[in-house]
Structure formats: structure tokens, C-alpha cells
């Protein structure tokens, strides 16, 4: 008979936290929430407390020094999770300042234990433990040392079946050993300021017995409290169940909503593929993306668009608005300039699941890069790779647009070398023909599929994109200096 102990996990419900903790907090664990001032430690502790405290699992919150308790209660009440109805019966605050001023760790410990015995909490918070360590003096005759204090606190509170959280600034070298030895979990919060943007970060450094999500994750504090955006994990590395769809799903093709384009793609865009539409400003990338979503709506395939473009043409905004109003297309429209890619991915995943979307448009990668906080721009390409992988893992088909400066000396598809991440590429260019600026497009690649290699002229009309005839009589189009290879037919024109 298997009699191994099974550790109960406390599911916090805090967005993203349980995921990075590996499923929740181990019951009766002794944890450290560390970080510099203003990083959100006290807010996280309160959110945890209000989420987990019940009449059967009560919480004791010990305040020491630092933020005056009145101020703390004043500010924490601004969060929606703060439930006044839980105070006193389910959640009790105890100020330890008087005990700490005695300078004796044993007196502080005795006060904590007396309150724990009287209230029998299932959750204990000490904010801040650093204040205890700094204020109490180990040199008082007969007093216990900081190491003994931390160790005894850990032992006693575990025995009292309390899940404990010490909150404070990251331990200094002298504090580190006793705390890091005794605690079962360490969560570190941070905020990094780069140029004029501030990004909050969280990391689970340690959580005994659990497969936590490694690495640094970003989070945001809103009126609802903390929302964590777990770093997007590349499917296949971690969870076999979320690997990219194979076989039959890939055989399915999606109609693009632009007459003639499906033929150019070899029969439509393979389902689950990521397509990059690259072209200069005004070449019709957003128009093509809108057609892709509108076609999805016609075929009962809901979509989602993440719009970063500041000034897309008004008519296409109206079209997208109409699609959003139809309830078949979800819109994430952000003007924030301190986003993490993980935050966008999280919002995107939530919306995809809510809409049951199968088509996703990101318009555009250039706008996306601008919206991402400067601190993440160095890793933009890597983050993009993770995002595309996650979306591919969800089985959605992704169309991304990329602003491309028209250069006639090289053929590039994205400013950040991200073209290789995508399964298919359509490039749009301007060419001068007969003293007129013309638009041409070509399918550059469709992974694992035949496709047209032709450069096709196209026009943008009120009805959308009209693809014309191949410009087979010209050569050197992409150099910007096309030359006539044969006598052009006078009938040459747009062939729908």
C-alpha cells in the first residue's frame, strides 16, 4: 500500500501565479517573498491572504516596522480583493513593533507564537522579517540568534500547521544562510526601469517538491491586484500535449479572402501556419489582414486581431470595428509602451480561448516592437519565436504584418530577421512601371507546399485587394529598375 505523504497545494487563483508555482503553494510550507521597496511584496502577500483565508483557514498578518499599519490598510483597501468582511474573524492583523523594540528575538518569537496559539491560523505573514532581523539584537544577554529565530519560527509554524510567508527585502549575505536553509519557497519580485519604462518581474527561485516555471516572468499591478504573465514556454520542450498540430490539421487550407491569393499559396494557407506579410507603408498589409479575418467570419471561423498600428486607414478601422461588433473577431488594441511579450501572449491566449478563434492577426510586428518595453527589445526576436511557437501550439493560423522599408539593394522580409520563424511569407513591393507607382506581391515561401513564384501586380480598391496578371514581361522588378523583356501586350492589365 502506498502511504507516501501527499502535499496539498493551495490554489491562489491569482492570475498566472499558480502556473509559475507549478500548481499552487504547498500547504504548511515556509516561504519568503523578497524584493526591493515598491516591488509589490506587500500587495502580493495581501492578495494571497485574501484569496486563501477562509473561516476554516484563518490568517494572521504580523506587521513589524516600515510601512505604518494604518497606511498599509489604507492603501491595500484600494484593491478589489480587499474584503473588509474578513477582517477580525478570518484575517487578523497584529503589530509586533513593541516586541521588536525589546531587541530580543525570543520575545518576538514568543509574541508570534502566543498570537498563533490564540488564533490558530492556517496562514501566517510576517511583514517585514528584515525589520525583525535588523531591529532585534542578538547581543542581548540570553537572547537567541537570528539563525535560531528563523529556524524556530519555521519549526513552530510548520508544527502549528500554518503556511507561512516572510516578507521583506532580499536577505543580505549575513541573513541569507538561515533563511534560505529553512524556507521551502523563495519568490523574488523586482522592477526594472529602463529609459522611461518600468517593468515588474517575478521569479520563483525555489519551491521544494514542485516543478515551478523557471525563468523571469513579468507582472502588472492594477486595481484588481497582481496579474502575472508567465513566460511563454515553447511547446514540445515542456508539454507534449501542446505540441504543434500535425498531419490532418496541416492538410486543411484556409481561404485568404483575396481572389487569386489562395491559388498563389498553392490552395490557401495551411491551417496552423504562421504567415508573414511584409511590405512598405501603404502597400496594403492591413487590408490583406482584414480580408483574412473577414473571410474567417464568413466561414464561421472566429478570429482575433492584435492592433499596434497608430494610424491605419479609417475605412479599414471601420471594417475591423464591424467585424469586432459582429462578435466573431476579438480585438486587442494597445497603446501602452511598457508591455512584455508575455503579457501580450497571455492576453492573446485568453482571447483566443474565449473566442474559440482559429485565425489570429498581429498588425504589425513593427508596432509590436515599439510597444514592447525597451528592456525587452534586445530579446525581441527570441520572444517572437516563443510567441509564434505558443500560438502554433494552440493550433491557430497566424498572420503577422511587417513594415518593410523599400530597399532595392537587398531582399529582406522583416527588419528584425524574424522571417525564418514563419511558415509562409508574402512580400509586397512598389515598382515603377511606365512612370507609375505600381504594387506587386509574391509568395516567397509556403513551408512544405508548392506555391506560385510569380510577381503579381495588384490594386487596392473599395472592395479590397484585386490581384492582377503576372508581370512576366518584366525583369529586375525587385531591383527597382524593371526592364521589358518582351513587347508588352496592349491588353495587359489586371486579371482578377
Amino acid at each position: 500500500m502506498n502511504q507516501k505523504v501527499r502535499i496539498n497545494r493551495l490554489v491562489t487563483g491569482i492570475p498566472g501565479l499558480d502556473a509559475i508555482l507549478g500548481g499552487g503553494l504547498p500547504e504548511f510550507s515556509f516561504n519568503l517573498i523578497a524584493g526591493p521597496p515598491g516591488s509589490g511584496k506587500t500587495t502580493l502577500a495581501h492578495q494571497l491572504m485574501f484569496a486563501l483565508a477562509t473561516p476554516e483557514r484563518r490568517a494572521l498578518f504580523f506587521t513589524v516596522l516600515g510601512e505604518p499599519p494604518l497606511k498599509m490598510l489604507r492603501y491595500q483597501q484600494q484593491f478589489t480583493f480587499f474584503d473588509t468582511g474578513k477582517i477580525n474573524d478570518t484575517i487578523r492583523y497584529v503589530n509586533l513593533a513593541d516586541a521588536v523594540h525589546s531587541g530580543r528575538f525570543d520575545e518576538v518569537l514568543a509574541t508570534i507564537l502566543k498570537e498563533v496559539e490564540a488564533f490558530t491560523p492556517g496562514l501566517v505573514f510576517v511583514d517585514s522579517f528584515r525589520s525583525v532581523l535588523l531591529e532585534a539584537s542578538p547581543h542581548v544577554k540570553g537572547a537567541i540568534s537570528p539563525q535560531q529565530f528563523i529556524q524556530q519560527l519555521g519549526i513552530q509554524l510548520s508544527s502549528w500547521q500554518a503556511t507561512t510567508f516572510l516578507i521583506g527585502e532580499e536577505p543580505s549575505d549575513s541573513d541569507t544562510q538561515p533563511i534560505y536553509t529553512v524556507d521551502d519557497g523563495v519568490v523574488v519580485l523586482n522592477q526594472s526601469v529602463y529609459r522611461n519604462s518600468m517593468v515588474r518581474k517575478i521569479q520563483v527561485l525555489k519551491l521544494r517538491g514542485q516543478a515551478t516555471s523557471p525563468g523571469i516572468h513579468t507582472f502588472r499591478i492594477t486595481g484588481a491586484g497582481i496579474e502575472i504573465f508567465p513566460a511563454a514556454a515553447v511547446p514540445g520542450d515542456t508539454e507534449a500535449g501542446t505540441a504543434a498540430p500535425a498531419g490532418p490539421l496541416r492538410d486543411r487550407r484556409l481561404a485568404m479572402g483575396v481572389p487569386g491569393l489562395d491559388t498563389m499559396l498553392g490552395g490557401g494557407l495551411p491551417s496552423g501556419y504562421s504567415l508573414l506579410v511584409a511590405g512598405p507603408s501603404g502597400s496594403g498589409k492591413t487590408v490583406l489582414a482584414t480580408a483574412f479575418l473577414a473571410e474567417g467570419v464568413r466561414r464561421d471561423e472566429p478570429g482575433v486581431i492584435v492592433a499596434f498600428e497608430q494610424t491605419p486607414s479609417q475605412s479599414w478601422i471601420r471594417t475591423i470595428d464591424d467585424l469586432v461588433r459582429s462578435g466573431k473577431v476579438g480585438l486587442i488594441n494597445t497603446r501602452l509602451l511598457d508591455l512584455s511579450i508575455d503579457e501580450i501572449v497571455q492576453r492573446l491566449i485568453d482571447l483566443i480561448k474565449r473566442m474559440k478563434a482559429s485565425r489570429v492577426v498581429i498588425d504589425s510586428l513593427s508596432g509590436f516592437e515599439l510597444a514592447v518595453a525597451p528592456t525587452f527589445r534586445e530579446d525581441f526576436r527570441e520572444s517572437l519565436f516563443r510567441m509564434v511557437s505558443v500560438l502554433s501550439g494552440l493550433g491557430v493560423t497566424v498572420l503577422m504584418t511587417s513594415e518593410l522599408e523599400d530597399r532595392y539593394t537587398d531582399l529582406r522580409f522583416s527588419p528584425n530577421g524574424s522571417a525564418f520563424l514563419t511558415d509562409a511569407i508574402i512580400v509586397q513591393r512598389y515598382v515603377e512601371l511606365e512612370s507609375r507607382l505600381n504594387r506587386v506581391m509574391a509568395v516567397v515561401k509556403v513551408r512544405g507546399s508548392d506555391h506560385s513564384k510569380e510577381l503579381r501586380q495588384y490594386e487596392i480598391t473599395r472592395e479590397g485587394i484585386i490581384i492582377g496578371a503576372p508581370l512576366s514581361e518584366y525583369t529586375g522588378m525587385l531591383s527597382g529598375r524593371p526592364t521589358l523583356t518582351q513587347v508588352a501586350s496592349p491588353e495587359r492589365g489586371l486579371r482578377p
Binding site: P68, L70, L73, R74, Q77, I87, N88, Y93, D98
Partner: protein
Amino acid sequence: MSLPSGNNPRHAAIRRTLALRQGRDPGSGAIAEAAIGLTREVARCLAPLIGSRGVDALVSRSLQLTVPAFPWLGLTGEHGNVMGSLASFKARLEVRDPMVVTEASVALLVTFTDLLVTMIGASLTDRLLGPIWAAPAPSPEEETAS
């Protein structure tokens, strides 16, 4: 200073509790004793939460805000000694007319609780101090029903 209002349930509860604690036909001394006792009980209730120094700071501020309406209280030179201030407050109450003593006592407690409300809000204040206040007397209809 906050003026005690008959429409404010918390203010009414303070007046009611003070009346209950001072007994029937009390003299100024009994009213002062009840007022100081109630203030100490409020302080005892809050001390575990905000620390004794936090409570002392609130009591000091409340005394300072109450004095302008009752200049004869004339509390001076008691900075940092809340117990001394309260003792002085009590001594000055005891020699005044009972009605004035009641008004000054209610004013101090109302000022204290209103000060707390501005810091942590009415619902949390009521949650924390509610158990101290005496419940309203049952209405004649309720008495008949029971």
C-alpha cells in the same frame, strides 16, 4: 474636529455606549471616568493592529482637534505623553457641568473614530470597533414582538 451628528450611526452608537457606561444620573466624575474608560478600550482594541505608538498618535491628534471646541480643556505641554494628556483631560472634565462633560467626551470619541475613518475607511473602522459600541435599544414594535 468632527461635530457629532445624530444621523451618523457611529456617532449615535458612541453617545449610547457612553450613556450606558456612566450609569443613571451621573456626576461629572462618572461621565469623565466612563469617557476615559471607553477611549482606553478603543485603544486596546486597536493597539494589536496598529501598535501602541500608532494608537497614541491617533489619541494625541484627536485631543488636539477636540480642544478648539472646548477651550477650557486647554491641554498643553503633553506632547508624546498620551496617558498624561488623557489624565489631564479627565481632570478638567471632572470640574465641569455634566452636560458639557458629556458633549466634550462624545466629541473626543467621535473625532477619534472619524480620524480613523479618514485613514482606513468607514467599513473597516466599523468592523474593528463595532463590537465595542452598545447595540441600539429595541424599538417598541420589536419589544412587543418578542
